[in-house]
Symmetry: C2
Subunit: 331 residues, 2 copies
DNA sequence: ATGAAAGCGCTAACAT
DNA sequence: ATGTTAGCGCTTTCAT
């Protein structure tokens, strides 16, 4: 049985309340007593019980994080940034690993809620809008990475239009005009990205061409097949993310289409994969660190009820140019 | 303020104890009452308070997981398997994201401990052996992925010798005899892998050649440079993991060395990257699902104190052959 | 500066 | 089958 405050108090010859004060670094404790108590605690290997503490104090220093897909390294990155920001802000994190199933997300969140979280960060959630809204009525929520402004729910996200503009301007600068998009599927984040693409293509007076894919290498392969069926073949492709992009590149190269000689390819996320010498994928770098900071800061506001209206923060992305994009053939 | 059991009880016109019984699906409750209570709970949006519950029941259904490096997709995979196994076993998970710093690991574990975990899964921990041992005296621990038998600490891991044998036999079968190893650095898991390589090379009567690297693409690049400095160039390379392997391949190809024509390359982890068409890396597939199951099962035993002596479970790996390995030139 | 006592939301005997 | 009661380990008034 783990030692309790009581054990420490007895050993130090003081009251439980005093131990409590010492453990919380309260100001009005004499240096002598403080030392005695700390030593007793140390000798006993005492650790405060966080459950009992939050039960008594009714103060919760824990945020929940719902991760949509743990096997996607990009989320690891975003999670890392949230974790760093949370630590700076003095919050613990409770993590629930999603599995790409909307229903499962809802049940994971329920578990999180039972563990008394003060707020919730949702990384690219897939749950239905109605669930999201109900949820945000229960606990302060900030979504990272979905652009759709779900009414009443805060979000921190890339500015998809600005990001798409980065891509299209880069490609247009290389002489491309026939720029296709391989999507990330029918999910909200994928649709947002597609909408950005369409908006920017329209802006540039170019004809959009959209091929269905997924946020996975397999989805990219599917998208690659879709591209190959296009006539004429586009000279450039904006893929939904890096995994999609490498799937596309795999198919193109296998069919003897040179990248970037015949077709330029751009991904999203600037993940480790994109940076591999072997891959060299030009990619939109998500402002991952900024995501974590913004989400945690916002959550802290919401918890303190100084938040005001829900809002979506759009954080600009940047383009990392590598060897998968080049001038259009014959330009 | 969130509704409590008391609120539900009042609304349903029953006692708090009955609500408690209903919430825990206890057997001896009349269907009528059960319905009444559930409806009241639902109307109030009641969620049990997990802190209060575990405080009162003294039963903790939560395991902690220390992840050594969140940005490494392989850990995402392993974590996923632990999460699945934990769910099947009815445990919640509390996750602490490591940052490759041994000191930080210790403090993360302390936080985890304060949150009343019943047991701890450590994914390739870097903390010192002494810390590990002290820790395992405090709470049941199972390490995943480090082979070194830290006295008194349970582990679930690949059989590194068997894994290396898989690699060397495959390569020898292709006519290779000059097989080098690019290491994962000076950490425990890296050393274990290296030891497996050395053991198997000795077994096969082959001369080991070891080049320092890291478990990252950059480390692989460094290893690739190291290889290029070797004379003669080995005809095959066993890299410490997939990231290392792609780093190596990048350097080799950049220097005009054909893979697998001139040099065959093998990685470890069979990660998403290895499976990319663009990469096609032959790789040792870690028995990731088995890791999660074994670790959680073992932890449950330890918690129930039916564990007995600490032991290391070695789970066999398998080799996934792709296009980065081929017959030795001229064979 | 320190202690006494009440109570956080829940479970777990024990009654009935 | 349901209610009563006594804590779980901690924080928090309120005294002293």
């Amino acid at each position: 049985m783990r030692p309790t405050q009581e054990d420490v108090a007895r050993r130090a010859g003081v009251s439980r309340a005093l131990v409590s004060l010492v453990m919380r670094d309260a100001p009005n404790v004499s240096p002598t007593r403080r030392r005695t108590v700390l030593r007793a605690a140390d000798e006993l290997g005492y650790r405060p019980n966080a459950s009992a503490r939050s039960l008594a104090s009714k103060e919760v220093r824990t945020f929940g994080v719902l991760i949509h897909d743990v096997t996607n390294p990009y989320f690891g990155l975003v999670y890392g940034s949230v974790a760093a920001a949370a630590e700076r802000a003095g919050y613990d994190l409770l993590v629930a690993p999603g599995t790409r199933s909307p229903e499962r997300e809802v049940s994971l969140v329920r578990t999180l809620l039972e563990h008394q979280i003060a707020g919730l960060v949702l990384l690219s959630p897939m749950m239905r809008t109605a669930d999201l809204q109900r949820l945000s009525g229960t606990v302060p929520c900030v979504i990272i990475g979905s652009d759709t402004s779900v009414a009443g729910v805060d979000a921190v996200t890339t500015d998809e239009v600005q990001a798409a503009r980065l891509v299209v301007e880069h490609l247009v600068g290389l002489g491309h005009r026939d720029i296709a998009h391989v999507t990330g599927g029918p999910t909200r984040p994928a649709r947002d990205r597609e909408a950005g693409y369409r908006a920017v293509m329209a802006e540039a007076g170019l004809e959009p061409r959209v091929v269905p894919g997924e946020f996975t290498p397999e989805g990219g392969r599917e998208g690659g097949e879709g591209l190959m069926a296009l006539d004429p073949l586009p000279t450039a492709v904006m893929a939904a993310n890096d995994l999609t992009a490498v799937g596309v590149m795999g198919v193109l190269r296998a069919r003897g289409v040179d990248v970037p000689g015949d077709v330029s390819v751009v991904g999203f996320d600037d993940s480790q994969i994109a940076a591999l010498d072997l891959v060299g994928l030009t990619s939109v770098r998500q402002p991952v660190d900024a995501f974590g900071d913004a989400a945690v800061a916002r959550l802290a506001e919401l918890v303190a009820e100084t938040g005001g209206e829900a809002r979506t923060q759009h954080i600009p992305a940047e383009l990392v140019i590598r060897s998968s994009t080049g001038p259009v053939r014959g330009a």
